[in-house]
Amino acid sequence: MSGVLIYACAGAVLFVFGVTGLILLPHLLRKILAFNIMGSGVFLVLVGLGQRDGTPDPIPQAMVLTGIVVAVAATALALALVRRLLHLTSKIQFPEEPESSGRCWKNN
């Protein structure tokens, strides 16, 4: 297996791990970590597939730098919001579906 494919496949695996975690884990901090793992997977694919004949291509590297900045900003916002939620409800989880579609059926 060539180097390019190793990076790309590792990236794809990380992406799948991240997406699964983001959807399935209930703890919000874990969700944020899962998002970061998902992001790393994407960056690995971007840089890994981007090389041409073993020489690195600068354009995907610039894109990954931009992507990292965006991911850091998003993580910071998510952490700030989760802290706020912890402060308000003293839980780091989504509360039990207060507005779910199930309840409005019972109300009527």
Binding site: G11, L28, L46, G50, M63, L77, A78
Partner: protein, 481 residues
Amino acid sequence: MFDPIPWLILLPLVWGCLTFLIGVGRGGRLVVAGLIIQLVLTIILARQIVMEGARHYAVGGWGAPLGVDLYVDGLTGIMLLLTHVVALPLVAYARAFFSSQAEGASYFWPLTCFLLAAMNALFMSADIFNIYVTLELLGLAAVGLVAAAGSAGPVTAAIRYLLVTLLGSGAYLMGVALLYGTYGSVSLAVLEPLLASTEISAAACLAAMLMLAGLLLKTALFPFHFWLPPAHGGAPAPVSALLSALVIKASFYLILRLWFDLFAPLVTTQAAQLLGGLGAAAILWGSILAFNQTRLKMLVAYSTVAQIGYLFLLFPLMTSAIPGAAESAMQGAVMQLVAHALAKAAMFTAAGVMVLSAGKDDIALLGGMSSHLPLTLFTFALAGITLMGLPPSGGFIAKWLLIDSAVSGGQWGWVVVMILGGLLSAAYVFKVLRQAFLPPVAGIKFKPVIRMLEWPAFLLALISLLLGFRSVEVLNLLGAG
């Protein structure tokens, strides 16, 4: 020749930074003035598009491979014009709204300006990576606006919205990575002929699926709509209006662009039918849930879920082989997009006034509203006319064009769905109106509201109604490039 393109991105960023520096909760007047300037710029740009057609703009004089290219055509012109026509009354409304209720006002002005800058940049982006960056900017600004109210409900909705939007743009970026790895470019202008001329690769198909799935999640198409009602229904009214009218349309615009330009060689009739089926489910399910709500703003939010469905009927209708059917489907979908944005902004702002006056968000408490706030109730009803698709509203033209396309293309199933959807939307609009004409609930005392809250909402509803008379101009602009 004066070129408004870069200014449409730079100016809102300038207003955003200035209002941030002026201080928390201040700077509303500056934003209103700034938006008037931007509206003039978009009108100039729309005229240029009609006269000279679509064109590219190289930011800073650096061309496509090295620099960032912007691209405007008729559809871009419509989206930019729509954004500013909706946003200007909304910021006037927001000034009055936050003077009556301080909750959520803290960073409204800078975040709104950043939101508009991101949206303008998104509409004009010509490469898929730049689109990713603008999508993230748009998402972060929107989440900030939802969370601004600060209590547990909105913060929970904001976190859920943030995670959904990050998941959506993550999937989108994965698609970008695959496309870059396969074709070595992110520019739409370069990728399009490459995808059309080379044999369809598995990587390109996977990329298309990931990108479209990410965008569908952000557009809140059924069954991905779970995050939308709490986020849109829980935010302060001006924010709900901005999100429901404009932000979800941005990701729909990208789906349109990608589906019909970039991924045109990949998409199949089955995929189009699937999207149409999801759209039909959204219309029916969203309308039924809207009818079952007990809170006014949640009702309006679920109505957004339903109205998004109409936009997705476009995809199966466009597969029709009959000439003219595809064209009127496209026109109908764009009219629906414009009419829904105007009507939903009007409906959310009117709902906000009623909730502010009643002091609590509950449909059962609306009794007596017809004599207390007749103008606002009239606004709500006018917006409802557009959502139901009665003449002469813009919604009527939209649904007429869509039904016309379905009939001439022989796709009768969608006609049934659209008519049922119209009836169901009449049901939930009349549920509110009926309650408002009942006598007041004992013990409830309506607070008086300032006039500046009622008029911008009415203006939006009026534009959505009169759009039916001016639809030719909109469709001209659509055909211009």
